[in-house]
Symmetry: C2
Subunit: 233 residues, 2 copies
DNA sequence: CATGACACACTAGTATACAAGTGTGCAAGA
DNA sequence: TCTTGCACACTTGTATACTAGTGTGTCATG
């Protein structure tokens, strides 16, 4: 169980403001967004100079990112943005699907009035974000919905784990072209999930969640074909 | 997805042997075995002197262990062996049960003749270990059986993840008194799991696994009562 | 022109030095 | 005796210096 999720709410209260966190967050975002491409080499020295800090905090950020499978450190040679391994993406999908399908069942069992209202609020905001084409907001609200469902299930630690596990999936997602129809489909699937949870339909909620997650995953092979130079194996 | 499995098989002397790995392995074993007790303070300087290395590799080991929830680093104050949090133990149990119940279903679906033979071999060795009261061997074979089932399911990465997630559970287990009857019960449950997998009984295998995992977990509250000073919350 | 040897720049791993902050214990005063 | 305040030792965080090893580009040679 990772004690420090990549985005830790508690870390803001940490005594000073550890410089390493800023470096870690920036590099992680750069890798996940594709700003830094798979295979690209980075060096502790250059990153340190760029952030105006010494090698030490950069090094700690590198190690954490390597542990998450986002960087590959080759001793005495260099550090590189890890290629996207299809096997790792499939493993991420498997773990996410397994955990979220179970937690959404629990959410359907446990959801109270306030929980259903919170879900409805998130859906309203999603519709608004899509209507005004704020894709970043829509993405953030997508994450928030999944996190909220897991919170309702009473297992917030599962989301903390998934944030790390999902990283490999997220790397693929940013490569996909977000067509208008795609966002509409995601929204519809979210609506169905929330609808089944609100109806306390345990089996229906699980089915809706599985279909949703698999739809997203189904595009992986196509994306890998179109971006084969970023992938390995 | 952790790229580096927490317990490297024989990382003692491979190549110029990164010193941090040795420190990490030793400290992790000390925390999980209870040699270092929850709440106990350790310092980078002392550990560095003890291992004959500088603070740098020790510091990296500390950070990884803190990420796993085994150490708690308080800036400018000190580093302490993390107390055992019942909530974290319950989360570990939940995640393990969710993932292993699904993988054992897959194992029952996919197991071939060679796989069944491998499982039978592990069971023979477990019976032998119990007969001669080699508890350490029995423990290692317990781990090996679960890992093998996940391998048969075709998801070895899931085991890599569970090795980390399980840590909080393992800390509790070493506190329990291993009575003779207990080992027998574990063995019987293992036999039932393997039997159901060999029979390709998907639902039966899942039931057997769930019962097995919950039996182990059922003792947690009693253990927490008897060792309340090691626990938090 | 092709090829091979070698110097060099660059990498991460490790050691050490310095900075900022915390808790404790002792001493001084009431 | 009790309280208060301060000095000090010790902690982790950060910066810098040094080590060992690798890849590459260049220059000399056939």
């Amino acid at each position: 169980m990772p004690a420090t999720p990549p985005t830790s709410p508690v870390s803001a209260f940490d005594r000073p403001g550890p410089r390493q966190h800023g470096v870690y967050d920036a590099l992680r975002a750069a890798v996940l967004s594709g700003d830094m491409r798979p295979g690209e080499g980075i060096s502790e020295t250059r990153v340190a100079a760029r952030f105006g800090v010494s090698r030490t905090p950069v090094r700690e950020a590198f190690r954490r990112l390597a542990d998450e499978g986002l960087l590959r450190i080759v001793p005495q040679v260099g550090t590189f943005v890890a290629p996207i391994q299809l096997s790792a993406v499939a493993d991420s999908q498997f773990i996410r699907e397994t955990l979220e399908c179970r937690t959404v069942r629990l959410a359907a069992e446990r959801a109270g009035e306030a929980d259903v209202a919170a879900l409805a609020g998130l859906m309203d905001r999603q519709r608004a974000a899509m209507a005004s084409a704020r894709h970043d907001d829509f993405f953030a609200l997508d994450e928030a919905l999944h996190a909220e469902l897991i919170r309702i299930a009473g297992r917030p630690a599962v989301w903390d784990l998934l944030v790390t596990v999902k990283a490999q999936l997220d790397r693929v997602r940013v490569l996909s072209l977000h067509s208008e129809g795609w966002a509409t489909m995601i929204l519809t699937q979210h609506e169905r999930i929330v609808d089944r949870v609100a109806a306390r339909d345990v089996a229906g909620a699980e089915d809706a969640m599985r279909e949703h997650l698999r739809t997203v995953f189904a595009a992986v092979d196509d994306i890998a074909q179109a971006n084969s130079h970023f992938f390995e194996k």
